[in-house]
Structure formats: C-alpha cells, structure tokens
Symmetry: C2
C-alpha cells in the first residue's frame, strides 16, 4: 500500500472515531495488512491506541502488535489486562517475543515472562543468553526436524501435523536421536520423490550451517552468498538449535548498511529510527565525534599559525586558497575511503588486496589530480585573476595547483589505506572513515601547501 492511501484511511479512522462508529473502524482495520494497521495505530493519539487495538481480530492483533513501534508496544503492554497480554503472547512467534523483550524496560519484561507458559519461558531465557548481535538472537526455534529413516509420506504427515505453528516449513532438517544435524531436505525435494522413498536416499548431507554464537552479519552474508532461504543454527556440538530465515536477514542487512552509513558520517549508530530517538539520544550519538574532530582540527590551526607570518609576506591571496585545497582534499579522500569501506563490508575487497587497491588508487589519483590541477590553474589565473581582478600571478597559480596535485594524491592514498589498516588491526573500517581522514588530509595538505609556496615563490618575488 502506498503511503498516500494509508494516510487517507488514517484520516477516515480519525473521523469515524469522533463519530464513535467502532463497527466501521473494526471493518476497516481488519482488512489491512498487519504492517499497515501497525502504522495506522502508531499514528493515533495515545488515548485512542488501546481502544482501536481492541477492535482487531485475535490473529490480526498479534501480527499487528509485532509490527508496531516500540513506544506503541510499551504503551499497549502497560495497558493490557493479563488476559489480553496472554492472548497476544500465545499468538506470537518466539523470535518476535524475544525481539520485543529486548526493547522493553524491566517491569514490562517481568509481566511478559509471567504471562508466558513454562516451555516458552525456558526458550526465551535460552535465547536471551546468546551474545548481542549473534545468530542466536535472531534465530527462530520453530523449525521442522525429520529423521533419516522416514519415508516421504511420513515426512509429509509430520509436516501437515505441525505446519501451523512453524514459521517456515519448506526447509526441513534431518537430525539424529541426539539432535545432531545430519542433513537437510526441502519440501521441493519431497515433492519430487515417490511417497515410499526413504529421505536418506536423497537428503543433502553437506549443508551450510552457522553456530549460534556467530555474528548475525556473518549469517546474513552466508545466506546472501549461497542464495539460501534459511540456514540451520547449531551449538558447539553440532546439535541443532534453530534456523535463521532470509526475511530476518533482510532486516539485518538493512541495519548493517545503516550502521556503516552512520559511522561514515561520524554518528554513533542506533537501532531506533530517527523519528523514534529522543533529542537527548541524538545528541549523545553525535557529540563525542564532533568534539574529537573539533579538537583534532587544532593541528591545522597550529600549522597555519606557525606558517602565517612567512606566507603573508609572500601574498595574502594564498590564504584564500586554503579552504578550496582542504575541501578538495577531504572530498578526494572520502571518495576513496567510502568506496573501500563498502567494498570491505560486502567482502568484494579483502585485506590481502591492499597492494592492488593501492596501485589502482595511485593511478586514479594521478589522473584526477592532473585534471584538477589544470582546471584550478586556469580558474585562478583566468577567472579570479583576470575576471575578478585579484592579483593571482603565474607563480601563485603554479604553487596552488602543485599543492592541489599533491593533496589529491595523498588524500586518495590515505583514504584507501586507512580502512584497510583498520581491518587488519581488527578495528571497524567504517569508524575511521571520512571525518578522520579529512582531518589527517587537512593537516598534510596545509603542510604541503606551505612548503611548496615557500619554495616556489621566494626566488621570483625576491
């Protein structure tokens, strides 16, 4: 559904609400996909959220609840009766329950745990034990397990019996009596064989799996690389504990990309969306980086101070070129760094490619720098010099263009090597990205500029 359409329905519901026409609201919201009814309810006034939510049918209620914002969920959890809470929890898949528990404050979590049955409670506690961002935290424990001596018919009987409660039934896993993973069959394989064939005859024995402690990003990469629709998760003794499906991984991949983008822009990543974060949270995620970068810009100040007297003696016009030099250096550096960081994240570039990357950037940077230096020379001499009437002599233009050339080449080298260095040192390449590289390149380009200016200009001006 397009956002425009949903906006119209939201308006309609608000109108019906003022007319107290609950029957019509009930009809409208039960026709929506859960993702849309969640957006609609989230957009309502706080006091209307619970009454509208109560109009959802039993199944729609749980599915909608899972899709709502955590603020909306918290509000509902605090206003539900015990019976309502139990009804919603009973309909939810375990991995969704765990996701919600991870977002809620302690008193709400206590209530959720109290309303869950003993088996669910045990499973929730198991999942909560896995390290942050591990495969264990995103897996679902509801999967179909089969035995290798079963026939296709027996497998189908089993699947028919339990399918209703399982999120995914198309990838089934074959385990032995100790729950150890020994193979996999898909429903497609089952459909392609006769009813009385034993699955041991055709099941896949070499299957790609991940451990519950593996990073969820690794799991996402495996699924994406091998085009899997699900991956089995095992413990350290190869006992099957759950599966991660491709739709869980879609979210992981979007989150990872968002995190990398945040880091590149010098913002501490957050799992909440921008609109959900409070002003205070946003401030907290941004201030440390701005402070660090501001203080590190001190170096450029010190460099300027120490050269100022001498440069000013040459020509005050040189100063006017410093921002252009620094900006171009910063942009050239972040082009290289951001490309390499993304390449590393997608595993298209690996640390052992460092020399090839360096050689490539060296050639690209010389080509870019030549082109920029020529244009810069022309712009200073013709536009600023002749058209605007500033006194840019040949020598000043030459000094600035040469500095620009050197700055661009150095910016590219620093830009492509820093993320690779970070990767080798097991640091996060995205964190060393553009802002830091800009600061380093700023300082280097100023030093180069001052030296080049002083060594080219004096003989001519003397």
């Amino acid at each position: 559904m397009e956002y425009g359409e949903l906006d119209k329905i939201t308006e309609k519901v608000t109108e019906l609400l003022s007319e107290k026409n609950f029957r019509e609201i009930k009809r409208l919201i039960n026709e929506l996909q859960p993702q849309d009814s969640a957006l609609l309810i989230d957009a309502m006034n706080e006091k209307d959220i619970l009454p509208i939510f109560r109009l959802l049918s039993k199944e729609n209620a749980a599915e909608t609840f899972v899709e709502m914002s955590s603020d909306g969920q918290e509000l509902l959890l605090n206003s539900f009766t015990d019976a309502e809470l139990k009804a919603v929890l009973d309909e939810m898949f375990l991995d969704d329950t765990v996701d919600i528990i991870e977002e809620m404050p302690a008193n709400v979590v206590k209530r959720i745990i109290k309303q869950s049955d003993a088996e669910t409670r045990k499973q929730i506690n198991e999942i909560l034990k896995y390290p942050r961002d591990s495969a264990g935290t995103i897996m679902t424990v509801e999967y179909v397990s089969l035995r290798e001596n079963w026939t296709v018919k027996e497998c189908f009987d089993r699947i028919r019996k339990i399918a209703l409660d399982k999120e995914t039934i198309y990838n089934c896993y074959v385990t032995d009596s100790k729950r150890k993973l020994i193979g996999g069959v898909t429903v497609k394989d089952l459909l392609l064989h006769d009813y009385d064939t034993e699955i041991s005859e055709f099941m896949q024995r070499e299957i790609i799996c991940a451990e519950a402690n593996d990073d969820k990003e690794y799991v996402a990469q495996q699924i994406s690389k091998y085009d899997l629709s699900a991956i089995p998760i095992v413990d350290s003794e190869n006992r099957m504990v759950g599966i991660v499906t491709v739709d869980d991984v879609l979210d992981v991949m979007q989150q990872e990309a968002t995190e990398d983008i945040s880091k590149m822009a010098a913002v501490t990543p957050s799992t909440d969306t921008y609109m959900e974060q409070s002003v205070w949270q946003i401030w907290k995620n941004r201030i440390p980086w701005l402070l660090i970068l501001m203080v590190s810009a001190t170096f450029t100040g010190l460099i300027i101070n120490s050269f100022e007297g001498r440069l000013n003696a040459l020509s005050p016009l040189l100063f006017a070129c410093i921002p252009m030099l620094m900006d171009t250096g910063g942009n050239a550096g972040s082009q290289a760094s951001v490309t390499v960081i993304r390449g590393l994240a997608l595993e298209e570039i690996r640390p052992k490619d460092a020399l090839r990357v360096l050689w490539k950037e060296l050639r690209v940077s010389v080509m870019l720098a030549t082109c920029l230096a020529i244009v810069c020379f022309g712009k200073l001499y013709l536009l600023d010099g002749l058209a605007f009437g500033y006194n840019y002599t040949w020598y000043i233009c030459l000094a600035v263009s040469l500095s620009l050339f050197a700055t661009v080449v150095i910016a590219k080298i620093v830009g492509c090597m820093m993320p690779l260095l970070a990767k080798v040192c097991k640091l996060d390449p995205a964190v060393v990205a553009s802002p830091f590289i800009t600061t380093i390149v700023d300082a280097l380009s100023l030093i180069i500029f001052c030296f080049i200016s002083m060594s080219i200009l004096p003989p001519f001006l003397a």
Copy 2:
C-alpha cells in the same frame, strides 16, 4: 566457506594443475558450492579457466557459470564450442541468462541468442524490453500457476510434474483462463488442507503484487515491508508475467545501499565492484564531482579575499580558526544530512515530517552547539592561549565560540532540510548530501565568522 579455506583449495588446485592431476582437481571442484567454485575459477590464470571449467559436472557447470565475474563469463563465452554453450544455457534459469546478456558485448549476445531455443529467445526479448531498473528486469518467468477449481491433490500433481524447472514452487498463483491473477496459495496452505478440497475455498484473494514497470526498489520495499518470500508481477491489465523472489531482492537492497553510500561520498555509483572497475571507469565516476565541488569552493575563497584586509587588522590569529570552524560545520551538517537521507531511503522519514525533523534538529543543534562552543572557548583560551602562548584574548575566544555556535546550528538546519527539499522536488536526496552541504555551510560559516568578529572585536581593540 571462509575465505581462508577457499584460498587453501585454490593453492591446492594450482599445485595439482602443474602436476596435470586433472582427476583430483575434478573431484575437488565438484565438491564445492557453485559460489565457491566460481571464486576459485575466477582467480585462475586466463589460460587455465576453460580447462578447469570443463572439469565441472553438467549441473555444476551452469550454476558455477552464473556466479562467475562478468570478465570470466565473457572469456568462457568466447572460448566455448557451440555445444558447450548450448549445454550451459539449457541448464540456466531465464533470469540469470538475461542478467548475463545485459553485461555482455553485442557479438557475445548474438551467439547466446543463436544457441537458445525459440521459446527462450522469445522470453529473453520480452524481458529485455522492460525499462532499466524495473521489476521486469529482475523477475523470473518460471513460476507455478494453478486454477481455482483444482483440488489440493490436482495442485500437488501439477507441482510434482513441473517443480524441477521452477526456481520457486512454494508460492503458487491462481490465474484465470486469460492469465489474470486472481489469488495465491502457498504449499503450506496446500499441506494444511485435505486432498479433495478445492483451492478456491482457502486461496488468498487479496494479494500484494507489483507491475513489471515498477521500480525494482519499490518491489524490494514491498517484499521487505510485508515479509514476503515472493511477489507476483503483473502487466498493466493484471495478467501475471512473472515473480520476484526474496533472494533477488537481497541483491537489489545491497546495491541500493551501495549506490546511496557512493552518492553521499560524491562518487557516481557503478554496478561493478571496485575490483572489477578499470582505473578509467573509477576516474570517470569521481572527476565530475571533484570538479564541481572544487569550483564551488571558489566562493569561500572570494569571501576570505573580501574580508581579509579587515580581519587581518583585528588579529591574524583569527585566520587559524577558519579550518576548525569549517570542518566542524561540515561534520555537523553531514551528521544531519546523512541521517535524514538514510531515513528517507528506508521510508522511516517522509517529506510531510519536515517540520518535526526541523524542530528536532533545532533542539539537538542548540544542545550540540552550546557544548562545542564552551569546549572551544576553553581550548582556545587555556590550551592555545596559556599553554602554547598564542595571544588568544577573551574577545577573540568569544568571537570564535559564538561563530562556532551559529555555524553548528545553521549546518544542522541546512543538513536536515536539503535532502527533504530534494525529495519534494523529486530529486535524489543522496546526491545533495555531505559534499554539497559542506560547501554551502563553509560559505555561510565564513560570512558569519567575519561579521561576528568585526562586530564584537573593534570596540575592545579600538
């Protein structure tokens, strides 16, 4: 498989190759997943690629071929005999064939088309007609279609008969005699109903679909939002033409994120990976932006030139603070812009939220700016002034800190509003990102700085 492991196998194969032990190579590479054998063959010397590829079994050959780099594919397509080409093409899914055709030069495409059978050729031509980046170009035409008066048993018989050739069988679509889409059933639904139930009794009639001309990004968003494993694609008359599956969408989403990241770093996006792009291509994707940004930095130069005489009369130390002011402004601006751009891409922020975003950024920016201004004042006065012995008076520190405050607030406002403005004007928000905002903020911050300095300082210095 970890890259380390694959490196070892690649070394082993190179060794076996020098010993001409083809039997062992054959065993090794046929045990790998197609994605891994593709990486392995891509890493070989050009002259070894064909001989090693020929050692793959018939099925492995096609699957490996699809996963190889386009350079490797082109090399093979040029060296295949007609029979080999036909064998590989016959085993490939149509959407993979189309992907390869889109990457290959005209003479290779001609050969591929010639070796395809008439039906495939017709389908290839249909798909090639869809606009670039549309759903039609990523969809597969091999899906299961059922009729609404069939029983579950008839459906299973149908699926059993055709499953081998279909990429996805779990989502089946119900069409009428004119191929119009009227509903959907999943294999799970089928398994949950008795063999003699007619599917019209339980099929889902309201199904989310997309048109072949829709942007592939829209399709990706629908699949991700509604947690679908496949989405049916229809033409303008609601006739079913294909399906897009979630694994196709994984690639689309990664590409979109990479494109946005490239644009934010002022690089024209490319569909090739960094390692695949030639030096010349990389140059072409980067130079226009660097040139535009360099020339637009002229403004800052002009501003400095026009204020220089007057500022220098106040204190040359003021100049040393310009890079710090500009860098902090740039960083503050890109924090806001990148956050908003990503929010827009994920539809977490919408243009109608503009005022809420502005109000949020205003509060955040005042908090950030206050904190930065205080630290800046302290740093200048205590560190640079007292510790390094530069003559930073109270008045200079005050002028710089006030300018910093104003710069940060303006940077945040420009940073958050520009992407929203771009979105409203139907431009790509990512393109107006950090580099452009930096240039605007640079110019504004310089003007503010000059005015504040001149209005605060003279009375005291006079």
